[in-house]
Every structure is written in C-alpha cells, then in structure tokens.
C-alpha cells in the first residue's frame, strides 16, 4: 500500500503507484464473454503520458477543467490520470443522462477540455445549442473510421513519445467537480479537493485493503463517487487490478465473478436485488432434499457468523454459492442508496461478506461502513476513520438531521456560495437525511428532511430537476414532490415522486391533461419518472418573485390530503 499521507495530490499518488508496481496487472477490459485488453501499470503509464502530452500541447494549463463522459472502461482511468498528471481538475459526468443534460453540465462546469465516447459525442454535437459548449478541445474515443467528428480529435491518435511535464498540485486544490444533481434544475457541482480523496482513500482502505492480485469489478458508472474511489484510487494505491465490464447484463456480471476471481465489487441496491433474484431462482429450482440441505447450511452459517465473519467456514458450508461468486470475494459493497436490511441479511446468511454503508458525494463517498463486527443490517454502520457525526435537533427518540465533519468533506458547490452556505452549519455538512446514533456508535437512517429521492440505482432525483419536462402542461399550476417529503414515513425505501396538478379554474383534471402528463413523463429516463399525481384546487403559495413556496405548499397538502389521494399515472 502507498502511504497516502506522503502525497499532495491524486496525480502524485497515482504516479507513485505506476512506478511502484510496473509489472503488476492494472486493468482488464471485458465485454460479455470476451476480453478486449489488459494493461500492466507500466502499460497504463505508456498509454496515459502521450495523452497528457496531447492535452498540454493543446493548451492545457494548471487548474484547467476537463470533463470525461464515458462508460466504464480503461480509457476513462487513463484519461483521468492524464488530467491529474497535467495539474487539471476532472469533471466526471454520468454517461446515462441525456445529451441535453450533458451539455447543460458541460456549460455549467466551464470545462475547457472534453474526453468522450463517440456515440455520446455524436448525440451532444447534434444538439441545436451545441455551440454553447465551452470546450476548446474534444477528444473522442472509439470513433468509427470516416466518422464526422464535428471538429473533435481522435483519442487513439495521440502516441507522442515526448515526455509531458508533471504539474504539481497542493492538497487543498480542487481535484474534481462532481455533480450530485442538477441536470434540470440548479446544478450541484461538488468541488472536491485532492485532500478529500487522499483522506477518504486512507480511511477506507484499512477496511478494504488492496494488494497486487486483488481484483475489483467495476460496473457502477465511474463518475459515481463509489466507483471512482473503489474502482480507481483504492486499487491503484495498493497495486490491485480493476476489471471493467462493458455491459451491465446480469448474466455477464455473474460470469465475471468466476472468470476473474473478483475480490471486491461495489453495487447499488438495484444490482444486488438482481443478484438475489437470480440466486433465489436457482435455489427454487433445486430438488427438495437439496433445498433442505441448503437451508440447514444457511442456518448453521447464520449461527456461526452472528458476531463476526468467518469466511473459511462460510465457504466450506456453502461451497457452491461461494464458487458462483468466484471463491475469493472479500467484500460485496452496497451503497449509493438505502438498502433494505432483509436483502443484506439474505447475502449475509449465505456467508457472502456484504458491507453496506452510507455516504454522499459532498463527503467524498463513505460516511459510515458496516464492518460485520457485529453484523448490524438494521444500521448503516459506524463512521469511517476521521469522520465525525452529529445529530442535529434530535427528537425524543434521538432522531434528527445527520451532520458530518471530516477532511473528506467538499469545499463547496461550484459557483453557488448561497447553496454552500445553506449546506454547512458551523463547519458541519448538513446531509438532509434523518438519523439516530445508537450507543454502540452505529447510525440508523429514518428518511429524509429534504425534498428528493434516491433510486435503487443510486441516482439522486430532485423534483426541480425534472419539472422542466412538465413546463407548459395545460394546467393552472403544477409542482413535483417526493411522496415521503409530503408524508414522512421514517423509511428510505419505496421512494416515489408525485405530480401535484392544479387544473384550470372550475375544471377537473381531464383525461386529456392526464394523457399529456403521462406522455411527458415518458420522456424522462425511467428512473426519473413520477409515479402518480394528485389534484389540488387551491392557489400555490408563491414568493414575491413568483417562485413556489414548496415547504408551505407541502405543509398545506400534508394537512389536507393523505397518501391515498395519489393516483397512479
């Protein structure tokens, strides 16, 4: 392991990793049942330095911002290293949002350089307002021969052997601008420093140590804080290997476990649920007597692993289950969204070392991790090293808003001092989540204070971000709320969005209006869609500048209607 306390920046630490383990396997790129490429740490460096040179020749200067929009693949990490090597600030964007949303975030971030996969660039460059793009240089990966690149350059063309200059950065300098939301509403670009990342990595690697031979399967988009840490910074700091799987097809994820003997994998609850479904299907298909043997083995394993994990015993008791996970899995990390305790218990019962946690982009990934000592699926674990947690304004049950303080907490939101000031109280980051700390220091979550949902895919959805789709809908007024914000339930599961419709004066909500709303809803990505609507016949409370007073409207709705008033859309 690198001693991360010795380094001032991600660029320095990554450079040290490339020097320390030149012959170790760094990256594997797989696609379905094929393997596309392998890189040792030396080969990674040989691929990255020409790109750094190209950036610098293109006018890249210290502190320049460069965005990456790519699916999980080696060129993502190679490009990121070239940016850090050149003293730049990385803007990692979610490849899954729409081209319009990409453009909006690119404009907001003022990224001067853009590194993007061809199919994504084609969509962005064809937008009517594509000329708003501030990027001076665009590098496109995997473009077909003869394709019109709209002025972009081919990533693969840069093979210059002239040495680029390493540009040093300081710990407090920004390393990344990561958008935690704001594709449609007010962009929330978290400015994370080199110190934030180095401290987070140092705090988490004692729980999940990497070493040459350890392999991380990367399927959560790399722009996400979890994969950026677990599938880049952490494995590199220990000489491990990142396996990129260029498909999310469940059958190939399952195959990758065994083919590559995966050591660590981070998943969001949606993927965990699919893994669980696949296993349950196979269990159900077992002959009756084998099912009884399996159930007995699970019961014994549960009894033996209650106080601490015993991987050897679990592997011996449930050999076939563990073989399906490759036989060498040290941790299946689940995060990005709240995970139901029953699902965690299912995997724990099988002896799969499952770790849930809690975090947010603003705190540079993990705030707490459940370390299985003892297994506490009813909680999200204890704070990671160096993380302080306070519960603000606790009620009689000790439930209040979770606030955190640590060297991993962001410096603020890009170009938004007002929102930054709202998010920090006396130096503490206020998360907007409701929680309670028990006597053993474990954190339990009880819902949200803020008007938003987090999907099982780990996507933060703010109603303001999707309201633009409903603009000019033929209603007098409309507004979108998280159902749990209107009617708090003290849970973080089954979160839904609700469209509040106020029809024109004296009219009811017509079939035409509903069809219109349903049509607009379908334009949203499936995970952003509203689930239902409710009819509201009073004028919305508004500020002097005609903005909806959301909290006040929510209060009125809460005291007038129940959740049963929501009609499926």
């Amino acid at each position: 392991m690198l001693d991360l306390g010795e380094y001032n920046s991600l660029g320095e630490a990554l450079q040290a990793a490339l020097e320390k383990w030149p012959a170790e396997l760094c990256l594997i790129e797989a696609d379905r049942d094929r393997e596309n490429a392998r890189f040792t740490y030396r080969q990674f460096k040989e691929a990255a330095l020409p790109l750094a040179r190209a950036l610098q020749d293109g006018g890249f200067r210290e502190g320049a911002r460069a965005a990456i929009i790519m699916t999980n693949q080696p060129k993502w990490l190679i490009s990121a290293y070239a940016i850090f090597f050149s003293g730049g600030v990385l803007v990692p964007l979610d490849y899954k949002v729409t081209p319009h949303e990409h453009l909006r975030l690119l404009v907001h971030s003022r990224a001067e350089f853009l590194i993007v996969e061809y199919h994504l660039w084609r969509a962005i460059s064809q937008l009517p307002d594509a000329n708003n793009l501030a990027a001076r240089v665009v590098l496109v990966t995997e473009a077909p021969a003869g394709a019109d690149l709209h002025g972009a350059l081919r990533w693969e063309d840069f093979r210059d052997s002239r040495q680029p200059a390493f540009v040093a950065r300081q710990r407090k300098d920004p390393a990344c601008i990561v958008y935690s939301s704001g594709t449609g509403g007010r962009p929330k670009g978290c400015v994370l420093t080199h110190e934030n990342y180095l401290e987070q990595c140092a705090a988490v690697t004692p729980i999940f140590p990497f070493f040459p031979g350890a392999r991380y399967l990367s399927i959560i988009p790399t722009n996400h804080a979890i994969d950026f840490m677990g599938g880049f910074i952490m494995p590199f700091s220990g000489g491990g290997t990142v396996v990129h799987l260029r498909t999310l097809r469940p059958e190939y994820i399952r195959e990758a476990f065994t083919r590559y003997k995966i050591t660590y994998m981070a998943v969001v609850p949606l993927i965990l649920r699919n893994l669980q479904r696949g296993m349950l299907d196979r269990f159900t298909a077992l002959p009756h007597f084998k099912r009884r043997i399996l159930n007995a083995a699970i019961a014994i394993n549960r009894a033996l692993t209650r106080s601490r994990a015993r991987p050897q015993i679990s592997r011996a008791l449930l050999k076939q289950v563990h073989q399906a996970f490759g036989g060498g899995l040290r941790a299946l990390l689940v995060g990005g969204a709240f995970t139901e305790p029953a699902m965690i218990e299912f995997f724990h019962g099988l002896g799969i070392p499952i770790y849930n946690g809690y975090g947010c982009t603003e705190a540079c990934t993990a705030i707490t991790v459940n370390n299985l000592r003892p297994f506490r699926p009813d909680t999200v674990g204890r704070p990671v090293r160096g993380m302080e947690i306070r519960i603000l304004n606790p009620d009689s049950d000790g439930v209040g808003e979770v606030a955190v303080r640590s060297k991993t907490v962001m410096s603020g939101y890009l170009d938004d001092p007002e929102m930054t000031a709202e998010t920090f109280v006396d130096g503490w980051l206020v998360t907007g989540d409701l929680g309670q700390l028990d006597s053993s220091g474990h954190l339990r979550l009880f819902g949200r204070k803020k008007n938003m949902i987090v999907t099982e895919e780990g996507k933060n959805i703010y109603p303001e971000d999707i309201e633009a789709v409903f603009d000019s809908i033929p209603a007098k007024e409309f507004c979108i709320f998280a159902a749990n914000y209107l009617w708090p339930t003290r849970t973080m599961t089954s979160e839904q969005l609700v469209l509040v419709l106020r029809p024109e004066e004296g009219k009811a909500v017509s079939d035409g209006l509903l069809a219109n709303a349903a049509d607009r809803n379908r334009r949203l990505a499936n995970y952003k869609r509203i689930s239902g609507y409710l009819t509201w016949d009073r004028e919305f409370p508004r500020t002097a500048s005609m903005k909806i007073k959301r909290a006040e409207l929510a209060d009125q709705i809460r005291h007038t209607l129940t959740r049963d008033s929501v009609v499926a859309l």
């Binding site: 199919h119 999310l248 097809r249 059958e251 993927i271 649920r273 895919e457």
Partner: protein, 79 residues
C-alpha cells in the same frame, strides 16, 4: 423482415421472457411499466432479443428507450 414483423417478434419474446400473455402487450407500451421491470431486467430482455436475431447491441442502445416500438426500430436498424 419488416418493422412490423420485428415488433411482433419482440413482443413474443418479451411475453415469453417475463411470462405474461402476448395479448396484453402493445407496441406502444412502456415496457418498464407494463412488465413491472427495472433497467437490468430490460437488459436481460435485450440479450434474449440479440440471441433471437443473431445481432449484438451495446447496452447504450437501450438508453432512453422504454417502448417496444422504439426498441424494434433500434433492432431493425441492425438487421
């Protein structure tokens, strides 16, 4: 093969894959809603479709697609 044929075959495959009646499915249905599936299950369906038509589609071809008709158009363009 016409777009109509491709759409019909996709509806047949979806009905078989998710064990629902073929008669319940329409080309303009939102398959997430109609079948009650998530994005990973939709990718599973895409694998079944690929195997049937002997083509290969990257995951991103499904991005932004939520109805059978648009899915059929994407498949048709690869046949």
């Amino acid at each position: 093969m016409t777009l109509q044929n491709t759409t019909d075959e996709i509806l047949n495959l979806a009905a078989q894959h998710f064990k629902v009646s073929r008669e319940e499915l329409r080309p303009d249905d939102d398959f997430f809603k109609k079948l009650g599936i998530n994005s990973l299950q939709a990718l599973d369906l895409l694998t079944t479709i690929e195997n049937h038509f002997h083509i290969e589609l990257p995951d991103y071809e499904l991005q932004g697609v939520s109805d059978f008709r648009t899915l059929a158009e994407r498949i048709q363009s690869r046949l």
